[in-house]
Amino acid sequence: MVFALVLAAWPVPHAAAQIVTTRPGATKPDTAKLYALALVETMLLNVVVNRFDALVLKEDWAHPTPEIWKHNLKTGWEWDEDLFTTNMFAHPYHGNLYFTGGRANGLNFWESMPVALFGSWNWEYFGETHRPSLNDWFMTSIGGFALGEVTHNLAATVRNNTLRGGARTRSEIFAMMLDPMGGLHRLFRGQWNDVTPNPVEHAPEAIALRLNVGARVADAATDTTLADDGGSNFAFIVELRSSDPFDLEYTRPFDAFNVRAVVSGGLNQVDAYGRLYSGGLPDSTKSTRHLFAINQVFDYLNNPAQRAGGQSVEGGFYSKFALKGDWGIRSHTFAQLMILGAVDAPYGGFGERISDYGSGGGARLRLTLEKRSLPWVTLFGKWTFISSVSGADADHKLGAAGIEVDIPVWQGWGVAAHGGVYWRNSRYSSGLRDKRDFPELRILAFWSPIGTRQ
């Protein structure tokens, strides 16, 4: 996805981020809302995926029969035993396909949510020999909302309806890599050659991308069954942002979002925040500004202290405090409601699954010293509580805190040092306690190929 974005944007001159309250030249899509077709397409997608699993991958569970359908309708939901990565990533991607199918049929963000819910329900009851999985329905649907809207927006940004010829075809291909359902719809409708105004989601000037490469320094984990064994190794961080919430008046869900992925010794972290709603923009001439916002959150952490993730909603305030010259302080203060989360539970889990599912809440705080909206020093803290409803009878408290120093050097290049500590404190009804912590340090060089440069 990162490479598609970079390659597609390469021929376009880099644009400095601008403060805009509306996107000039953008139009609302003039597309009929095809509700029924969107629902039928989810079922067709399920048939295609099921047949691929059955005939190509030879999966045993991909051969449901009418008797199994009847059994599933009679017995209903259960918690499944799938692997952590299957539930956290594969299922949201599947949900993303349902969701973007809705968007491709002219439905907006809210109208596409029932499409994803229906598509996932349909798969759970009729697509497998297993009983329908409640955690899959949550992760597929809710994760699909977030991932689907992000890919829909990115594809619309990569695609440029005003181009012609080879440049246009290239933009359509890269957009389809991000949003296969949208790309296929446009291909079959003959829209790859139509020259039209771009939709409101097309916002190349709002995109900022930063790539960080370096090394992680940490102690090796003592428990080698963990997915992240700790230790010192290569580090790679991708940060993608679309719009600063203070620069864009709220018009629709995910008009401002950011995604961050961290890799060292495996995938360590994925954070995605998408704005669902925010209040009116405060007066930009004031030295102190506060903006209330509600965000949808997808997060995933994997380190020797905790392997956790979930689908959440948070509410709170973005704040900006102007200092002298181009300097300022930005803060994020949010309370989070964890709709459904998962956490590794070596002393719990269920069957072959060694993680607990549950709901809970938390909070996050972020304080950044910035210059011309670019971060220089960031302090962060995050706390999460998950009470298990599947797996062990346990309560899990998770936390993370640290400091990140990013120093721009020249034309989008810079150096950085990120340090943090992750901890967990799990308490089981049997009296067992699981307390762990994991400190780490990353030394990085960064490059911003797209977006604001100092």
């Binding site: 509700y35 009679k74 017995t75 209903g76 939901w77 259960e78 918690w79 809210w110 949510m113 029932p114 819910l117 409640l134 329905w137 949550f138 709709i339 459904l340 269920f350 069957g351 599912y357 549950g358 709901s359 009470s387 298990s388 409803v389 599947s390 797996g391 009878d393």
Partner: protein
């Protein structure tokens, strides 16, 4: 142990549908003169019939039984077709499971954040919600006159559809079918642990709306 839907349950369900159909027929006539005012703040109180299906980890069979449901919703309009609000709903069955000496009563309560969406100009609406839920099972041993209450709290998801029949500019009747799914964790009874209980309540209800 599974209980089939008995004749009493089917009769109750038929009565609810009959009342709903009659009210709908009357409301259709009344709506011809009443002006629909689907805006601003609203509150809704509903009653009806429900069926609870309880499943657990490793259980090959599920247990189902019927009971009464009630709900209360309050919220406001955020767009011409969407209402957002909060809802509490409950299900109760005094004899979810019963034997010669033991009776198990089941209660499911949920508090949800809900969205109600009217896709078009008609009274058809879709409803979705997320929230927290609690399951309460009371075991009464009739031979020793003792009882024990088991509780579990967890996550709930609520989806449904219905029809809104305006009666007056500020009053309406609704008929809806909703599924409330709750994941309420483990229950320990008599030294035995029933793990990862999931309850599914199917609700058929009539509501009175004040706007």
């Amino acid at each position: 142990m599974r209980r089939a839907w008995g004749p009493i349950t089917l009769t109750l369900a038929s009565l609810v549908l009959l009342v709903t159909g009659s009210a709908a027929a009357q409301a259709s006539g009344a709506a011809a003169t009443a002006t629909t005012r689907r805006s601003g703040l609203w509150a809704e109180l509903g009653l009806g019939w429900g069926s609870l299906r309880a499943a657990c980890a490793g259980c090959e069979e599920v247990t189902s039984s019927a009971g009464g449901v009630t709900y209360f919703r309050v919220g406001g309009q955020v767009s011409p077709h969407v209402f957002l609000g909060g809802e509490t709903n409950g299900f109760f069955d005094a004899s979810f499971i019963s034997s010669d000496t033991t009776t198990l009563a089941a209660e499911i309560e949920a508090v949800n954040f809900i969205a109600i969406w009217f896709p078009g100009r008609s009274g058809l609406f879709l409803k979705g919600g997320l929230g927290i839920a609690q399951g309460r099972f009371t075991i009464v041993d009739t031979s020793s006159a003792t009882s024990e209450t088991l509780r579990g709290t967890g996550v709930g998801i609520n989806v449904g559809a219905g029809w809104d029949f305006p009666l007056r500019p500020r009053m309406a009747l609704t008929a809806s079918f909703t599924t409330q799914i709750v994941g309420i964790g483990d229950f320990v009874a008599g030294g035995r642990t029933i793990e990862d209980v999931i309850g599914t309540v199917y609700q058929l209800a009539v509501g009175f709306v004040f706007r």
